[in-house]
């Protein structure tokens, strides 16, 4: 128990204040060094999840065994309720394979539109520990870079919005830290009135609403991936500051209604904005 608490407290409280930067923009200088890119795309999940917001009593009280147990109990109750509501969706969508849908699009679009020449795309369900990443980039040749992508997809805790979150980092030979790093966050339009009603709505018509948004999310993710490393994107980005509505789920506070950011691109009805931490968001205003 103690070890579990140490790990979770370190992750939940301590490291938040001393974490590495979430956003490292690709500098012109580093971009010029890159001729070819190898991509490793990780998808851990076997199917869409609705992950409960973890209880944060322990963090608020500064830790301790009893607050940790309270957190575990509250989180468990929240997740159990979500699982029950999600059954309405799972019943109709038992055996789809997000990886197949995503990776075929990823491979095609990387070869067609990524700003650097993509040589190799490795797709995997196996995460790679940080030490292995550091070891792998030691073996890169001059002009070569490795792009590590990790994609999660889940419904918001009110089950109304589909989120696709991709963490990516670009590494050059022998680097101790990435030359580019960011999170790309897609959120769909909200569907239904929440809970089981939304879960059923996603699964309606053989899951068409769900698969349509998965496809949209994949396209938006890959667009953000390219936009973020394109030369001059920072210089040419429109400087309009805007608030774009964002579904933070059922446990959001009254203040959590929108993401504030700088407009980077408009794609049909959607906008891509850069949030305060540097993350890119694809949202529907």
């Amino acid at each position: 128990m103690l070890k579990g608490i140490i790990i979770m407290m370190a992750l939940a409280i301590g490291l938040a204040g001393c974490a590495a930067p979430q956003y490292i923009p690709l500098s012109q200088e580093n971009a010029k060094k890159i001729q070819t890119v190898n991509v490793r795309s990780l998808v851990v999940q076997d199917e869409v999840l609705a992950k409960a917001d973890p209880s944060t009593v322990s963090a608020a009280l500064g830790g301790g065994l009893i607050p940790a147990l309270i957190d575990a109990s509250v989180t468990n109750a929240r997740q159990a309720r979500l699982q029950t509501a999600m059954d309405a969706m799972y019943e109709s969508l038992e055996d789809y394979d997000f990886r197949t849908i995503y990776w075929s699009e990823l491979t095609r679009q990387l070869h067609e539109q990524y700003p650097f020449k993509v040589i190799n795309v490795v797709t995997t369900a196996r995460s790679m520990p940080a030490k292995d990443v550091l070891q792998q980039v030691q073996n890169l040749k001059d002009g070569e870079a490795d792009l590590f992508m990790s994609t999660d997809y889940y419904l918001s805790t009110d089950l109304r919005s589909l989120n696709i979150i991709t963490a990516c980092s670009l590494w050059t030979k022998g680097a101790q830290e990435p030359v580019y790093k960011n999170s790309l966050k897609y959120q769909s339009a909200a569907l239904g009135s929440g809970g089981e009603q939304s879960a059923k709505a996603w699964a309606a018509d053989g899951g068409k609403p769900f698969f349509d948004k998965l496809k949209e999310g994949i396209d938006e993710t890959l667009a953000m991936l390219s936009i973020d490393v394109k030369n001059n994107v920072t210089a040419t980005a429109k400087t309009d500051k805007m608030d774009v509505k964002f579904n933070f789920g059922e446990n959001a506070s009254a203040k959590q209604k929108a993401v504030n950011g700088t407009l980077v691109d408009k794609r049909g009805e959607r906008v891509i904005i850069r949030g305060a931490s540097g993350s890119l968001y694809s949202l529907l205003p």
């Binding site: 140490i6 370190a10 301590g14 076997d46 992950k51 940790a68 575990a72 468990n76 038992e94």
Partner: protein, 192 residues
């Protein structure tokens, strides 16, 4: 002060992390069925008949992994063997299980199971596991009925160990067995 706290917490996390890495990184997990990992103990059903349980076929789209522990991949062990062992535990609900290889046809219902999902995930201090099994029920009159069962299980992350993720799957499988037992109770009642 903040720096010292940060360093201490990072050290604690890294120390724990190193220990995890030393516990057999990228080796398939030992998937041992555990009947004790159950939220509710099995209770004998009203209509228990003899069953023939065929070995579980592994039809998971992802046979490679069961999830991730921090950044360490959880490599799947023998999920089919694990689920097959679990289904033998239907005997705890009162069903008699025909021995493998028996051909005298005493079983009233033959179960042909396929495991299609087995995965874990984490939220805060909690670990969760989900198991999905498609089951074909064959009766002596040749009638076959199919049903898909899904169940989840959970446990608190006590040690950050890979084996704890397998435990969540055992909870999930035992929750799934209860659903199967409810249906078998009805089926056995019909064939009595």
């Amino acid at each position: 002060m903040k720096k010292i706290t940060c360093i201490a917490l990072m050290f604690a996390a890294l120390a724990a992390r190193s220990a995890l890495a030393a516990e057999g990184e990228r080796q398939p997990l030992s998937m041992t069925y555990d009947p004790v990992a159950a939220d509710i103990r099995p209770v004998p059903v009203a209509h228990a008949c003899m069953l023939k349980v065929l070995p579980v076929a592994d039809e998971r789209l992802n046979k490679d992994t069961l999830g991730v522990n921090l950044t360490n991949p959880l490599i799947s062990g023998d999920a089919a063997g694990w689920a097959t062992a679990g289904l033998q535990n239907l005997s705890d609900f009162g069903f008699r299980i025909e021995k493998t290889g028996t051909t005298d046809g005493q079983a009233r219902i033959t179960l042909a199971p396929k495991i299609i999902r087995a995965y874990t995930w984490q939220v805060g201090m909690k670990l969760f596991g989900t198991v999905v099994i498609k089951m074909d029920y064959a009766r002596p009159d040749g009638k076959i009925e199919s049903k898909t069962y899904r169940a989840s299980g959970d446990k608190t992350n006590m040690w950050g160990a890979d084996a704890e993720y397998v435990t969540t799957l055992n909870y999930a499988l035992n929750n799934l067995l209860r659903k199967v037992a409810v249906d078998l109770d009805k089926q056995c009642g019909l064939t009595a």
